[in-house]
C-alpha cells in the first residue's frame, strides 16, 4: 500500500517531466525517418522500417529510463522532500521500491504510446497489425526494467549527471558484452579464458533482450528464449535493487 502510494506519486512526478516528451518527440521523428530510409533502400521497405523502429524504441526507452530515473532519488534528497517522507512510518526499502515501480509504470506508458505510434506507421505499409512487434517490445521493456534499477542504484549516491554517465556506460557495455562470449569460444583454456568468463558473468548482457533480427526476418523465436530473457532481466533487476537498498538503508541524509 505504501509502496503503491509512493509509486503513484513518482509516476505523477515523472509524467510531468518535460524531458520525457522531448525524447518521445525524437522517437517519433526517428519513426518517420525510417520511412525515408526505406524509400532510399533497395529491398524490403517494411524490414527497414521495423528494424529502425525497434532500435528507436529500445534506444529512446533507455534514454527515458536513464535521464528521468537517475534524478528520481537524488531530487528527493536534494530538495529535502525525503525528510518528511522518511519521518513517516515507512521503511527505506519501501521508498526505493516505490520510486522504482513508479518509474517502471512511467516507462510502460511511454513505451506503449511509442509502440502504438510505430504500429500506426507500420500499418500504412502493411495494412495489417504486426502483432509480433509486441514480442520485441516485451523484451525491450524487460531491458528497461534492468536499466531503471541501475539508474536508481546510481541515483542513491551520485548526482544526476554522473549517474546518467554511469548508467549510459552500463547500457553500452551491456550491448557490447556479447563480444566476450565470442572471445571465450576463441581463446585457449587458461587464465585469459577464465578471466573473460568471470567478466562476462559480471557484466550485463543486454543483447539477451534483443530479438530485432528474428522479428525483422520473421525467424522463429523459441519460447524458452522469452522465459530465459525474462528470468535474466528479473534476477538482474532484483540483484541491482538489492544493492541499491544496501546503499540507501545506511545512508545519512545530511
Amino acid at each position: 500500500m505504501k509502496i503503491k502510494a509512493i509509486a503513484l506519486n513518482t509516476f505523477r512526478e515523472a509524467i510531468r517531466d518535460r524531458i520525457l516528451y522531448v525524447i518521445f518527440f525524437f522517437a517519433a521523428v526517428c519513426f518517420l525517418f525510417s520511412r525515408v530510409l526505406a524509400l532510399l533502400t533497395v529491398g524490403d521497405q517494411v524490414k527497414i522500417i521495423t528494424d529502425v523502429g525497434l532500435a528507436a524504441l529500445s534506444f529512446f526507452g533507455a534514454l527515458m529510463a536513464i535521464l528521468v530515473g537517475t534524478g528520481l532519488v537524488y531530487k528527493e534528497i536534494d530538495k529535502k522532500t525525503l525528510y518528511t517522507l522518511l519521518s513517516k512510518p515507512i521503511h527505506r526499502y519501501q521508498f526505493l521500491l516505490g520510486k522504482y515501480f513508479g518509474m517502471i509504470l512511467t516507462l510502460f506508458v511511454m513505451l506503449f504510446l511509442m509502440t502504438v505510434l510505430f504500429l500506426i506507421l507500420l500499418f500504412f505499409h502493411t495494412f495489417k497489425i504486426e502483432w509480433q512487434i509486441f514480442a520485441a517490445v516485451f523484451l525491450i521493456f524487460c531491458e528497461l526494467c534492468v536499466i531503471t534499477a541501475v539508474a536508481i542504484l546510481f541515483s542513491c549516491f551520485s548526482t544526476p549527471i554522473l549517474s546518467s554517465i554511469y548508467t549510459l556506460s552500463f547500457y553500452l557495455i551491456g550491448h557490447l558484452s556479447w563480444g566476450l562470449e565470442t572471445l571465450i569460444d576463441n581463446i585457449n583454456s587458461g587464465l585469459g579464458r577464465a578471466l573473460a568468463r568471470v567478466l562476462y558473468t559480471l557484466l550485463p548482457d543486454l543483447e539477451n533482450f534483443n530479438i530485432k533480427t528474428e522479428i525483422v526476418h520473421h525467424l522463429p523465436i523459441p519460447p524458452e528464449l522469452f522465459f530465459f530473457s525474462f528470468l535474466y532481466g528479473f534476477c538482474y533487476s532484483v540483484f541491482i535493487l538489492f544493492l541499491a537498498v544496501l546503499v540507501f538503508r545506511r545512508r545519512d541524509f545530511i
Binding site: R12, K79, T81, Y83, T84, S87, K88, P89, D252
Partner: protein, 305 residues
Amino acid sequence: MAEALKITDLHKSFKTGFLLKKKKILKGIHLEVKQGEIFGYLGPNGAGKTTTIKCLLGLIFPEKGEIRILGQPYLSLSAKERIGFLPENPYFYDYLTASEFLEFYSQLFFIKKDKKEDKIQSLLRLVRLEKSAHLQLRKFSRGMLQRIGMAQALLNEPSIVFLDEPLGGLDPLGRKEIRDIITSLRDEGKTVFLSSHILQDIEMICDRVAIIVNGEIINSGRLKDLISEKINFTEVILSGLKEEQLRELSESLASSGDRIFLKITDESKLEEVLQLVHSQKGKIHSLIPRTETLEDLFVEMVKTQ
C-alpha cells in the same frame, strides 16, 4: 509524567574535507522531554540542533547513544506512527496541490477512507489554507508552505511533534498563527519538541528548554527556573529632580522635557534614589524591574562557552 522522548549519550560526527577528517557534531546529548509539554531546543547556528532532530527521525544514524520515543525504539514503525515532523525551510512536491499532497501523505498512514477527506479538510481549515486547497504548492508563499508543512505533520494525530525552526521566515501574523497552533497542541495533550532561533517566541510558549552549544547541552530546565529570579536592572522614570543630583546614582541617564530616565543596577542605589525623590518631593512615573530574558541567558551561556 511519563517521558515522551528520552535521549541518552547521543554522539554523531561527520567526515569533512579532502582528508575526510572526523568532525564531532554531537558530543553526548542527554535529554528528557515529558509528555504534554512544549520543549524548546535552542542553540546558535551549527550547534547541532538539526542534527539532533535528524537523528531522532532516523534521517541520520548516531554513532553512539540511545533514543526512545514514547517508550519505543525510535526507528520502529510503531513510534513513527505517532510522530509528526516539520523540517526547517520545508519544500514539498511542488507539482501537487495542497489537498493532493495531504492525500498522498495520508496514504502512508492507515487512515480510513471515510475519515481521510474530513481529516484533510479540517487540517486545511486549521492552517487556514482551505481556499488554496486546489493550488499547486509551487505557487505557495513561504508562510503558506510552512502552514501546509504543519498540516502534514499533524495528519496522523501525532502524540509528539518535532518542529525544526517552525517560526523562521514568517511575518508577525504568521508567527502568531503557528504559535497558536503549537499551544493548542499542548492543550490537546500532545508533546511538542521545537528548535528555534526566535527566542521571544520560545519564551512565550515553551515550558522547558535546553541550550545546546558545540554539540553539548550546557543548560536545561523549566523556563521560569532558569530566568525568573535574576533582576538585571531597574528602569525608573521620574520628575521634579535635577540631573546632577542623580548622575552618581544611576548607570545611565537621559531626559526628555521634565522627565528623567534612569537605569539602576545596584539595589542600594535604587533605595537612595527613592529616598531622594521622597525628600525632594519629586514624582515617580514608572519603576520597572527588568528581569533576565531568555535572550540574555542564551547570549551569556553561548559567550561563556
